[in-house]
C-alpha cells in the first residue's frame, strides 16, 4: 500500500467504542480520517486505529463481519496499526488467560488489570519519543502490557507495567490519548504512517478541544 504523504486517510475501526473521539483528533491535525466498517473501506489507508471500546465485543464483531482477514491482509501489505486500550489487547500476541486475537505485535497484555471503573484514572507522563513535554494520559478499565518481545520498543514504562510500545508497523497504548486535549500520539502515529500532520514535538495540547468535542461527529439530532 503506498501512503502518499499528506493525502491518504487514517482509518478508525468503526464497530463500537471511541470512534468519533479519534476522528476528532485526526481532524485537528489536518489528517483525513475515515470510519471503517467494511473491508472495502480499508483500501488506500495509510494507517488504521483500532479504538478502545470493549475488546471482547470488538473481537466478536470483527469475526462475525469478516473483517479479521482483510485487516491482517492490509497489515501484510504495509498498513500501519495503532491499538488504544481494547485495540492494544486485540493486537497483542499474548493475552493473559485468553486466546489472543490478531496477535500481530509481540507483547503480553493483561486485560482490565487495574480493576473496575472505580480504578480508572488520569495522570501525566513524559514520553520522550512522542513529545518533549509531559502529556496527559487517561486510563479507563485499562489493560497492562507486562512484557515486550525483542523487536518491540518500550515508549512508556510506569510503575510495574508498560503503557505504550511499538514495533516497526504497530503502535499500542493502554491509555486513551483521544480522551485528552493532547494530539501528540495522533501526530506520532500519523508520522509513523508517512503523513505530515501539523504541529511540532510539544505536548500538542489543543486549546479548542473539550471533553465534548467528539459530539460533532455523532449522529445525534
Amino acid at each position: 500500500m503506498s501512503a502518499t504523504a499528506g493525502s491518504s486517510p487514517v482509518g478508525v475501526l468503526d464497530l463500537q467504542g471511541g470512534v468519533q473521539e479519534h476522528l476528532d483528533h485526526l481532524r485537528r491535525l489536518g489528517v483525513p480520517g475515515r470510519p471503517v466498517k467494511r473491508a472495502a473501506e480499508l483500501e488506500g489507508l495509510a494507517g488504521l486505529i483500532v479504538p478502545g471500546g470493549e475488546s471482547t465485543c470488538l473481537s466478536r464483531l470483527l469475526t462475525i463481519f469478516d473483517l479479521r482477514e482483510p485487516i491482517e491482509q492490509a497489515y501484510r501489505g504495509g498498513l500501519k496499526l495503532w491499538g488504544t486500550c481494547a485495540g492494544a489487547i486485540l493486537l497483542a500476541r499474548e493475552n493473559l488467560g485468553e486466546t489472543p486475537y490478531f496477535g500481530l505485535i509481540d507483547i503480553a497484555v493483561s486485560r482490565n488489570a487495574f480493576g473496575s471503573q472505580l480504578e480508572s484514572f488520569n495522570r501525566a507522563a513524559l514520553v520522550p519519543a512522542v513529545a518533549r513535554e509531559p502529556v496527559p494520559l487517561t486510563f479507563i478499565r485499562a489493560p497492562k502490557i507486562l512484557r515486550v518481545g525483542s523487536g518491540v520498543r518500550v515508549l512508556l514504562q510506569l510503575d510495574d507495567y508498560i503503557a505504550a510500545a511499538e514495533d516497526e508497523r504497530i503502535l499500542v497504548t493502554v491509555f486513551h490519548p483521544e480522551l485528552t486535549p493532547s494530539l501528540a500520539f495522533h501526530r506520532y502515529f500519523a508520522r509513523k504512517c508517512g503523513l505530515n500532520p501539523t504541529g511540532t514535538d510539544d505536548a500538542g495540547l489543543d486549546p479548542d478541544w473539550t471533553p465534548l468535542s467528539w459530539t460533532r461527529f455523532s449522529s445525534h439530532a
Partner: protein, 293 residues
C-alpha cells in the same frame, strides 16, 4: 465526586457507544451475552417482563448474584438501584461494579428525590422520557442517559416516543432566539446551564442509549437511526425462543444500523421474539416509565 472522576465516568460511557447492554439473571446468561458481543451486562434477579408479571416490590438484586456475574465476565457490569435508594447505591459502589442504573424498573424508594449522584465515585445511568428529565438527572450527577421506553413489554413504541421527544426539544432549543431560552427552560423543566450546553452541542452532553421495549434487530437499528448512541436490551433476548441467535443479531444490527443489507441478513431465522404487550391499553399504574420525574 471530583470533576475529574465525573469526566472519567462519562468517558467510560463513550467507550460503550455503538454497543448493546444486555439484562442477565445468572452467570450462564452473562456468558452468553458476552460471547454474543454485548458491550456490558446488567445483572439482575428478574428481567423487567417477569417483574411486570409477578408484581410486588422489586428491589436491588442480591449482591451475591451480582458478584458471581461480575466474576464470570470481563466486560463491564451494571446493576440497578431503586430510584432514590441511595443505600442500595452505596452497596453497589462497595461491590465495585462499573455502573449503577437508577431504574424505574424497580419499585421507587422515594417519590420526591432521586439519588444525589454527585456524592458517589461510581457512575450512574438514569432513564428519561424527554429533554428536561434527562438534564435533571445529569444535573444530579448522572454520567449517562437512556430513554425509559416501557420495559418488559417487547414494544418499542415508548422508546421511540421518548427519543423523538428528546430530539424535538433539542431542535427547538437550538433554533429559538436567545431571549426565549429561559422561558423554554422554565416550561420544560431544564436546568438552565445544561440547556445552554445542549443548545451549543445540538445533543445531550452525555452518551444516550435507548432502552425499554427493544426486541428485534430492527428495533435496535431504529433507535440508532433516531440518534441513540447504543441500546439496552432487557427482556428482549432471554425471553425469546433463541437467545443466542437473537443476542448476536441485535449486536450486529446495532453496529450496522445504517446498512439495510446487513440488517436483512441478521434479521432472518431468529425464531420467536418475546411476546409483546400493547402499551396503549395498559393502565397508568402498570406503566414503569411514569416512575421518577
Amino acid at each position: 465526586m471530583a470533576e475529574n472522576r465525573y469526566l472519567l465516568n462519562t468517558q467510560l460511557a463513550q467507550m460503550l457507544k455503538g454497543g448493546v447492554i444486555m439484562d442477565v439473571v445468572d452467570v450462564e446468561q452473562a456468558q452468553i451475552a458476552q460471547e454474543a458481543g454485548a458491550v456490558s451486562v446488567m445483572a439482575l434477579e428478574r428481567v423487567p417482563a417477569d417483574i411486570r408479571k409477578q408484581g410486588g416490590v422489586a428491589r436491588m438484586s442480591d449482591p451475591g448474584l451480582i458478584k458471581a456475574i461480575k466474576e464470570a465476565v470481563t466486560i463491564p457490569v451494571m446493576a440497578k438501584a431503586r430510584i432514590g435508594h441511595f443505600v442500595e447505591a452505596q452497596i453497589l459502589q462497595a461491590l465495585k461494579i462499573d455502573y449503577i442504573d437508577e431504574s424505574e424498573v424497580l419499585t421507587p424508594a422515594d417519590e420526591e428525590c432521586h439519588i444525589d449522584k454527585t456524592r458517589f465515585e461510581i457512575p450512574f445511568v438514569c432513564g428519561a422520557r424527554n429533554l428536561g428529565e434527562a438534564l435533571r438527572r445529569i444535573a444530579e450527577g448522572a454520567a449517562m442517559i437512556r430513554t425509559k421506553g416501557e420495559a418488559g413489554t417487547g414494544n418499542v413504541v415508548e422508546a421511540v416516543r421518548h427519543m423523538r421527544a428528546m430530539n424535538r426539544e433539542i431542535r427547538q432549543l437550538v433554533s429559538i432566539p436567545a431571549e426565549e431560552i429561559m422561558g423554554f427552560a422554565k416550561a420544560n423543566g431544564l436546568p438552565y446551564q445544561l440547556a445552554l450546553e445542549v443548545r451549543t452541542l445540538g445533543r445531550l452532553p452525555v452518551v444516550n442509549f435507548a432502552a425499554g421495549g427493544i426486541a428485534t434487530p430492527a428495533d435496535a437499528a431504529l433507535m440508532m437511526q433516531l440518534g441513540c448512541d447504543g441500546v439496552f436490551v432487557g427482556s428482549g433476548i432471554f425471553k425469546s425462543s433463541d437467545p443466542v441467535r437473537r443476542a448476536r443479531a441485535i449486536v450486529k444490527a446495532t453496529a450496522y444500523f445504517n446498512d439495510p443489507e446487513k440488517l436483512l441478513e441478521v434479521s432472518m431465522d431468529l425464531g420467536e421474539p418475546m411476546p409483546g404487550l400493547d402499551v396503549a391499553n395498559m393502565p397508568g399504574e402498570e406503566r414503569l416509565a411514569g416512575r421518577g420525574w
